[in-house]
């Protein structure tokens, strides 16, 4: 057992009993990084000197009562702006963006909790991708088997937690980018309701879909991290002005009488759901039944249109959001530009990778004169139909449960040359973003052949994260999957 096997609550107890210090925890993070980072490559930038300095201060000034994140080492996805700490979005365009001027709101909140930032985590460039192979720097590898992808776009966020390099991380989820890597790496990842967590300082990909959320080892830890980052923010005009409940209080309420809906589309081989994934989800549903929940089959009839609608909408928003990267105020700047337009074109073409260019092109096309109604507006209308599917099911049910991803992790290089097939794999996570509802992935078993994690997805109505935590905690406590660790770098 290592310190990474303890929950946030247990760690706080150990800090107070002086069994460990914050410095021990931070040092343990960097030791583990030294041990396994060559294999996993979760990080783009490390924050060692500042993290150890902060640990020392926190040890010297430890108050009698601490909150759950006090002194706990965390990793941050590299599209979340960190003051004075390099922020690249895994893009070569921002390779020299070494000195960001402000902290994202979530960083201000973590700083207030006295969290310790260990470093910035690898991702698909500007969060566009499902494997972290679109990073402008290097691939991150799945800690359970380093020949396999960790998922994406928050691949570094999931891999660093699974590998025991940090105790928790923040990711972002636009079409599944927290939940799918959480599923592939066997950790707990939550995409909150759109508007619950401020997007101020999250480098925008698709503003109507993006949300920041926590990745953790356990459901309880996840609830604590969400508690710290949720809440209204004047700096984000799409931030919801709602009361944030106490998520931890909901954990132990149990699932007796909980009404679970299982969409038939989410277990259908037509959507490419592998039989093994289906079996694990069905086994999980049996666990819920044994705990007193009821399970019914329902339909989300517009599911099969979600991927097409998403790629039009997300790419359209991305094409507008990424217009800010002009080579003038920060980031990549081409040499030898003849004029201003030439400077924009050359700087952007040098700095962006293929997938980012592809999506900017798709979005620009969908928004261009003559195509707007046929593609962009049509996709927005389909979005309405998808949202209504969810509204209808939630009239009668508390949660929707299904797989997170149709398959476990696949091999590095297996799908990267076929964008359309890779997009289609997001079929189970994308509808959740389009509807704006919260969704979590948590481990529900392992594949037989390669022992790769399989994720269960729990979805609830807007701002009902409490019910997700309640269901997830009950399931987690009744099973053992979350206790398994990848065999990496010798120490288990």
């Amino acid at each position: 057992m290592t310190v990474f096997d303890y929950t946030l609550e247990q760690l706080q107890a150990k800090l107070h009993s002086k069994e460990v210090t914050v410095t021990d925890l931070v040092q343990a993070s960097f030791d583990r990084i030294d041990e396994v980072e060559d294999e996993v490559k979760s990080f783009l930038t490390l924050n060692k000197e500042q993290a150890l300095e902060k640990a020392k201060q926190l040890d010297e000034n430890m108050p009698e009562k601490t909150n759950p994140l006090y002194g706990i080492p965390a990793g941050i996805k590299d599209n979340i702006v960190t003051k004075g700490l390099r922020t690249t979005c895994a893009s070569q365009f921002l390779s020299n963006f070494d000195d960001p001027l402000y902290d994202a709101t979530v960083m201000e909140k973590l700083n207030k909790e006295q969290a310790v930032v260990i470093g910035k985590l690898n991702m698909d460039e500007f969060a566009m991708g499902s494997t972290t192979e679109n990073s402008g720097y290097y691939d991150t590898r799945n800690p359970w088997n380093t020949d396999y992808v960790p998922g994406g776009s928050s691949g570094g966020s999931a891999a660093s937690v699974a590998a025991g390099e940090v105790f928790y991380s923040l990711g972002s989820d636009t079409g599944g980018s927290i939940r799918q890597p959480a599923s592939f790496c066997g950790v707990v990842g939550l995409k909150p309701t759109y508007g619950l967590v401020s997007r101020f300082g999250l480098v925008a990909f698709a503003s109507s879909l993006d949300q920041i959320g926590p990745l953790t080892r356990t459901v309880e830890d996840n609830a604590y991290v969400l508690q710290a980052i949720a809440g209204h923010d004047n700096m984000d005009s799409t931030s919801a002005n709602v009361d944030v409940p106490n998520y931890h209080d909901a954990l132990k309420d149990g699932v007796k009488g909980l009404k679970i809906a299982v969409p038939k589309e989410y277990l259908s081989s037509q959507e490419g759901i592998q039989p093994e994934v289906r079996e694990k989800v069905e086994a999980a549903l049996e666990v819920f039944k044994s705990l007193g929940a009821t399970v019914d089959e329902v339909s989300l009839p517009h599911s099969k249109y979600a991927v097409a609608a998403y790629y039009l909408l997300a790419s359209s928003e991305a094409s507008a959001n990424l217009a800010r990267f002009d080579g003038i105020r920060y980031g990549q700047r081409a040499e030898n530009a003849e004029n201003l337009i030439d400077l924009f074109k050359k700087s952007r073409s040098e700095g962006f990778g293929d997938e980012v260019k592809r999506r900017i092109m798709l979005g620009t096309f969908a928004l261009s004169s003559g195509y707007y109604d046929a593609y962009y507006k049509k996709a927005q209308q389909v979005r309405t139909l998808i949202k209504q599917d969810f509204d209808k099911v939630f009239e009668d049910y508390d949660v929707i449960i299904g797989p997170t991803s149709p398959t476990p992790a696949y091999k590095i290089g297996e799908k990267i040359d076929d964008p359309l097939t890779m997009y289609a794999d997001d079929v189970l996570t994308i509808p959740v973003n389009l509807a704006g509802v919260p969704g979590m992935s948590l481990p529900c078993g392992f594949s037989k052949d390669n022992h790769l994690p399989i994720g269960l997805q729990i979805i609830a109505k807007h701002f009902d994260e409490k019910t997700i935590y309640r269901a997830a905690y009950a399931y987690e406590q009744a099973t053992e999957h979350h206790k398994e660790r990848p065999n990496l770098g010798g120490a288990k």
Binding site: F97, D98, D99, P100, L101, Y102, Y194, G195, S208, N234, S237, T238, A240, H302, Y305, A308, A309, S319, A323, G327, I328, R329, Y330, G331, R333, A337, E338, N339, L340, F344, K345, K346, R348, S349, F352, K357, R358, I360, M361, L362, T364, F365, S368, Y375, K377, K378, A379, Q380, Q381, V382, R383, T384, L385, K387, P419, L420, L434, A435, G436, H462
Partner: protein, 96 residues
């Protein structure tokens, strides 16, 4: 079914301020064409009278008070600039 031509790809690249090589034009013509064909799946659905969703929350015109407040200094703003002169961002000549 809409096919995308190479000229359209060049035009869209210009709108998006991306420089594309001929090899990229070939590749993107194929890839964007495939994605657009796939997206035409949406035409199966009759969406007559369906309101488009631009945003999932019922928020309208979120305003704050128009008051000056402290933000970054000029020096800070220029800190990450690739090129600058006399306290300003430097760009290539716009007017001859």
């Amino acid at each position: 079914m809409t096919d995308i031509s190479k000229d359209q790809v060049r035009h869209v690249a210009h709108l998006a301020r991306l420089a594309v090589s001929e090899e990229e034009v070939d590749r993107m013509t194929k890839q964007l064409g495939d994605i657009i064909h796939y997206a035409e799946l949406l035409n199966e659905l009759d969406t007559t009278g369906v309101e488009p969703t631009t945003h999932v929350l019922d928020l309208k015109n979120v305003m704050r008070k128009d008051e000056p407040r402290k933000w970054i200094t000029r020096e800070d703003a220029l800190k990450n600039a690739p090129d600058q002169k006399d306290g300003q961002f430097k760009v290539p000549t716009i007017l001859e």
